[in-house]
């Protein structure tokens, strides 16, 4: 929490000014009931109209000043909250942009997203609210008590006595309520889960005629949810009646005690009337302070989550180029006894060695989770290897500047992302590439026809490419990878949704036009990689076969098994 306050430091002058205005506005507002009692007690008995007119005008003036002052202060508070949030969010997002993959895995993506969004919204709201209520409510409370003290100290005691009771009740009830609402949230999640399952599985449910069963299942979660909502609301329903009862009983006590004090000449009637007004003001302030505490506890959780990201140290990115010349005759890509482990200890690659010459193609095949994508991540330095080394042009990839290293690649990841933007921007992705080159890349990726049908490079792509079919998405992604004319082209399971014909045309284009690029292709289908110079068969992190298609069909049982299942016996061996 304290660290975040440093984000507020630049705004201290503005906040102080807003604070002063707010104090002024609030004090003026407090003066109104005080004037009311003065008019009734001291001016009316004089029996003249003119002082009443003067003080009445003063009251209206106070109302006006309070109005203007409070609005001005609120606006300044909003501006401060805006600038604070903007700065915080900027830092947060750029910090996330430079987190290492390992750190991103640690936080998980959904959690990072909610830290940039909902957590910063909570903080925005809190900073604004604290400036508005945080000043007004305590002043109303303290000021109200002081004004009542000047009016009548003994009556003030009655009021002060009720305050702790009110505070305690709201505190306890709202804490209990917060807990109960968490339980409600859980029940609501289960209710929604059943609905989601029914929407997604409608064919299965209808095929098996299980609608009746599903209705029963829904009834159960619906009833549970209803019951929990009832319990939570029942608890919260206590607050209002109890509060107004306490307020009203306080007023009755003031009247009775006031009667005795008037009897003994210790106070005047007008004061009792003003007192009744102040009582309401003070209690409202107390409730506002209570609300603030609830809000602050929510904000504390959010700020802890935001700070956790901001305080994460940078990894991986501080490299400077470490070499002065490139060794000659080195292979383009070399894996030298590479072993790799994730933090979670799961997928790993063990003792992997291979070399690729410029222009060669490497095919990788193997079970999901066998470690195929890991090889790519290590090569592009999303993670550093645990043992061994990866070299490009004879230089360890850890000695390249990260941006220089990445600039060598054109890549399509498994389940890669399309952005909500134009087709042009999705292929270009911020790089300096002309429309002609983009179109040519799309043509090679077999994407040009559907792009033209959709309306050309200016056609809009929806979030995650939702307006495109699976095959269209993959072709657009491949266009992106081809567009930069990369030194190394990586396609990770990126043609699984293409029919065989399109897939083969694509391979032909890559063979013709990317002769100088070194290619790494990961696939489930043997037909996608069978023409590669080198094929790597991975099982459970270990290399179980390396060679050409024909060699592997003879020597590698796993490869043969896959080949036969996909193409049919005899046919696979014959190619």
């Amino acid at each position: 929490m304290k660290r975040l306050l440093s984000y507020l430091r630049p705004y201290i002058p503005r906040m102080s000014l807003g604070f002063l205005i707010k104090v002024f506005g609030t004090l003026v507002e407090l003066a109104i009931p005080w004037i009311l009692s003065y008019i009734i007690d001291d001016l009316i008995p004089l029996g003249r109209i003119s002082p009443v007119v003067i003080w009445g005008c003063l009251m209206i003036l106070c109302s006006l000043l309070a109005w203007i002052g409070n609005i001005a202060a609120n606006r300044m508070a909003s501006a401060v909250a805006r600038d604070f949030t903007r700065g915080l969010r900027h830092d947060l997002f750029s910090r996330i942009s430079y987190l290492s993959e390992r750190q991103v895995d640690g936080f998980t993506i959904p959690s990072l997203i909610s830290r940039v969004t909902s957590d910063t919204y909570v903080l925005h709201q809190t900073v604004g609210m604290m400036q508005r209520l945080g000043v007004r409510a305590p002043i109303m409370l303290v000021g109200g008590v002081i004004v009542t003290l000047t009016l009548d100290p003994v009556l003030t005691l009655i009021m002060v006595a009720t305050l702790p009771v009110v505070g305690a009740i709201t505190f306890i009830v709202s804490r209990k309520g917060a807990k109960l609402f968490k339980i409600v949230q859980k029940a609501s999640d289960s209710m929604l889960r059943v609905v989601r399952e029914n929407a997604v599985g409608v064919r299965v449910i209808k095929a098996l005629s299980k609608s009746g069963y599903e209705r029963e299942r829904f009834k159960k979660v619906n009833d549970t949810l209803t019951e929990r909502e009832r319990v939570a609301e029942k608890t919260m329903a206590l607050i209002n009646p109890v509060m107004s009862l306490l307020l009203n009983l306080g007023i009755v006590a003031v009247i009775v005690a006031g009667a005795y004090r008037v009897q003994f000449g210790l106070t005047k009637v007008g004061k009792i009337i003003a007192f009744m007004n102040l009582f309401t003001i003070v209690l409202n302030a107390l409730m506002a302070i209570n609300r603030m505490f609830t809000m602050l506890s929510r904000a504390a959780a959010s700020s802890a989550r935001v700070l956790e990201v901001l305080d994460t140290p940078m990894e991986l990115y501080e490299t400077e180029p470490h070499f002065s010349f490139l060794p000659e005759n080195a292979p383009h890509i070399a894996f030298k006894d590479v072993t790799f482990k994730y933090d979670r200890g799961s997928f790993a690659v063990r003792h992997l060695s291979f070399e690729l010459k410029r222009g060669e193609t490497l095919g990788i095949i193997g079970a999901t989770g066998a470690g195929k994508s890991t090889i790519i991540r290590a090569l592009m330095r999303y993670y550093d290897v645990a043992e061994g080394a990866i070299e490009i042009d004879g230089v360890d990839i850890r000695d390249y500047a990260t941006a220089d290293l990445r600039a060598k690649f054109g890549v399509v990841f498994q389940n890669d992302t399309l952005f909500k933007d134009t087709v042009r921007e999705n292929i270009r992705l911020g790089r300096d590439i002309s429309d002609e080159q983009l179109t040519e890349a799309a043509r090679r990726a077999q994407a040009i026809n559907f792009i033209t049908n959709q309306g050309g490079l200016d056609a809009e792509v929806a979030i995650k490419g939702a307006n495109l079919s699976g095959g269209q998405k993959q072709r657009l992604l491949i266009s992106r990878a081809l567009a930069g004319d990369p030194e190394i082209l990586i396609l990770d399971d990126s043609s699984s949704a293409l029919d065989y014909k399109t897939d083969s045309k694509l391979r032909e284009e890559i063979r013709l036009h990317c002769a100088h690029s070194t290619k790494i292709i990961i696939a489930q289908r043997i037909s996608s990689i069978m023409h590669a110079e080198k094929i790597l068969v991975i099982d459970n992190g270990n290399v179980v076969g390396m060679g050409t298609h024909n060699e592997l069909m003879k020597t590698c049982p796993l490869y043969r098994e896959i080949g036969e299942s996909q193409i049919g016996e005899g046919k696979a061996a014959a190619v």
Binding site: I40, A66, S190, M191, V200, V204, V252, M276, D416, Q524
Partner: protein, 587 residues
């Protein structure tokens, strides 16, 4: 569709909402009675406080305070206030009961409707949208409906009561409100008129920022591959500034409301005390009356502001209700024909006779398809991705009805069969494995409730998944959670195959695509499917060449239409699209 998009009339929406409330007529009436009672008691309090003040006031005329009168009035007030608090607590408890019943009922109605809707509805509508109707929309209706309706009623009672009381004290002084009430109405109207579009814009901008952040952080790996960190940061800054600014603009005007309401209240107070003083000097009002009047004036102006808020809330409730009713108005799956009969344990002989079909009236995609599938035959449906291979499946199981022509099962026109019995003759394994939040055995026995644990284990052994299930923490009683983190896609697929195996049906529909499933598991799935297919009439959406080659009939689908049909050999002998598809994999 288009006619439905038209806006429902407000009265129509209200007319359909009322029955939900009227179902609890008694409770509602009681609520209204309690509201009136509670508010009247609340109003009576200040009335007696005025008497008490006057009793104290006597001292200034030199008579001394009438202490016994003060005590008497105080006692009356205490009783009144306790009663009022009690009533309002009972009232809110009752309201909670009513509103929970209403919500429960609405959710049930919506869900029951969902179970009656045809498959097409779920093809057209996003799941997220359906979910928001059953949760967010119904909640919105509920808050307004029960809470606001009673609130409006209560406010009306309070306003009228306070007005009557004030008039009884001093009709002249009430004239103050002839000035301040319109002022407050105009002010709030002005402000809300100003702020509503700004708040709408704020929500839109927040939504945009959410979408952007989600997109960018999810796609981070890609952005890094092309070194786009800085560029993305710049784009983010634009969105960030827009959002912060929209938030500020809304707040800039929105934060006027509180001070403005306070201003009008303070103004009323000033005017009342000023004119009250004048009237006192003229001798037409007592000090106690002034104090009572001040208390009533607070009760009077409070609800007026509240009603302004509530009207805004009601508007959003109406639009939410409209969305819910639109769902309830959807056409359900047409009922079975009147003399529909059951067909159980069909042999599996399927015949299509000159079938025509299109998803929309203007675009026919199956033009007079005739097909004879004898018992035990294998029909393969092939074609590029997204070509519409599931259409035939949709027709066979009557998820959609044919436009003309006829489909027969064992010689019975399927339109004369009950849907339930027709569908139970099929078992299905789809590409999107569907498992629900329940135990492994519940999921596998879904659709065959009479199955014993032995039966379940038998089919799991046949699918080669038994050993895997035994390694799960609770074995067959392990609960599958929805992120499915504990179970791989391949294992899920095997479970749905086991489910299909338990069913006694003689017809099978299979979508055999297994992209993204690892090769080992894929081999296992294939073996399990082959076991499942034995002796059944099979319709397979085929991706694997071995399946296609063994098929008795191959249907080739392209752009939604069936363009070729035949056996593997007959199709390979001509210059066919099928031949192109088939050869492509060896190119």
């Amino acid at each position: 569709m288009n006619e439905q998009r038209e806006k429902m009339k407000k009265t129509a929406v209200l007319g359909r909402l009322m029955p939900y409330l009227l179902r609890h007529k008694g409770l509602m009436a009681l609520c209204i009675l309690l509201t009136i009672g509670g508010n009247l008691l609340g109003l009576a309090g200040p009335y007696f406080s005025g008497f008490a003040i006057d009793a104290i006031k006597l001292s200034e005329d030199g008579k001394g305070v009438d202490l016994s009168a003060v005590w008497r009035y105080a006692a009356i007030m205490v009783v009144l206030y306790i009663l009022s608090a009690l009533l309002s607590y009972i009232l809110s408890r009752l309201m909670i009961i009513v509103s929970r019943k209403v919500v429960n009922r609405m959710r049930k109605d919506v869900f029951d409707k969902l179970t009656e809707l045809p498959v097409g509805y779920f093809d057209r509508n996003q799941t997220g949208d359906i979910l928001s109707r059953i949760s967010y929309d119904i909640d919105t209706i509920n808050t307004s409906l029960s809470h606001d309706l009673v609130q409006i009623f209560a406010s009306a009672v309070t306003v009228i009561g306070a007005l009557v009381m004030m008039i009884s004290i001093s009709p002249l002084l009430v004239l103050v409100f002839a000035f301040t009430v319109p002022l407050s109405v105009i002010l709030t109207k002005k402000i809300t008129g100003f702020t509503r579009p700004l708040f709408r814009k704020r929500s839109a901008k927040l939504g945009e920022l959410n979408g952007f952040v989600e997109e960018m952080i999810s796609g981070q790996k890609t952005l890094r591959a092309y070194s786009q960190e800085e560029n993305t940061g710049k784009k983010f800054d634009v969105k960030n500034t827009e959002t912060a600014e929209a938030y500020y603009r809304a707040e800039y005007y929105g934060s006027m409301t509180g001070p403005s309401v306070n201003f009008v209240n303070n103004l009323s107070l000033s005017l009342v005390s000023f004119f009250g003083a004048v009237l006192f000097l003229k001798g037409s009002i007592s000090i106690g009356n002034i104090s009572t009047f001040v208390l009533y004036s607070r009760k009077f102006s409070g609800p007026i502001n509240e009603v302004a808020n509530i009207i805004g809330e009601l508007q959003s409730a109406f639009s939410a209700a409209e969305r819910v009713f639109r769902l309830l108005d959807e056409q359900p799956e047409p009922a079975d024909s009147e003399n529909a009969y059951e067909l159980n344990g069909a042999l599996g002989d399927v015949r299509l006779d000159n079938v025509r079909f299109g998803y929309s009236m203007d675009k026919e995609i199956i033009h007079g398809l005739s097909l004879s599938v004898p018992k035990g035959a294998l029909v393969a449906i092939v074609g590029p991705t997204g070509a519409g291979k599931t259409t035939i499946v949709n027709l066979l199981m009557r998820f959609y009805d044919v436009d003309s022509g006829e489909i027969r099962l064992d010689g019975n026109p399927i339109k004369d069969l009950t849907r339930k019995s027709l569908r139970l003759n099929y078992s299905m394994v789809l590409q999107d494995t569907w498992l629900f939040n329940g135990t492994v055995s519940e999921n596998i026995a879904y659709g065959s409730e009479q199955a014993t644990r032995e039966d379940i284990e038998r089919v799991c052994r046949a699918c080669g998944i038994h050993d895997y299930i035994e390694t799960l923490p609770e074995g067959y009683d392990t609960v599958l959670d929805d992120d499915g983190s504990n179970i791989s896609k391949g294992q899920k697929q095997l479970m749905t195959i086991a489910r299909a195996m338990l069913l006694p049906s003689s017809l099978l529909i299979l979508d055999e695509a297994t992209s993204n499933v690892d090769t080992r598991t894929e081999l296992q799935i294939q073996r399990a499917m082959r076991a499942l297919m034995a002796d059944k009439t099979c319709f397979v959406i085929a991706h694997r060449l071995s399946t296609v080659r063994n098929a008795d009939i191959i249907l080739v689908v392209r752009d939604g239409e069936i363009v070729e049909r035949g056996t593997h050999d007959s199709l390979m002998s001509g210059d066919t699209f099928y031949k192109q598809l088939y050869n492509a994999q060896f190119a």
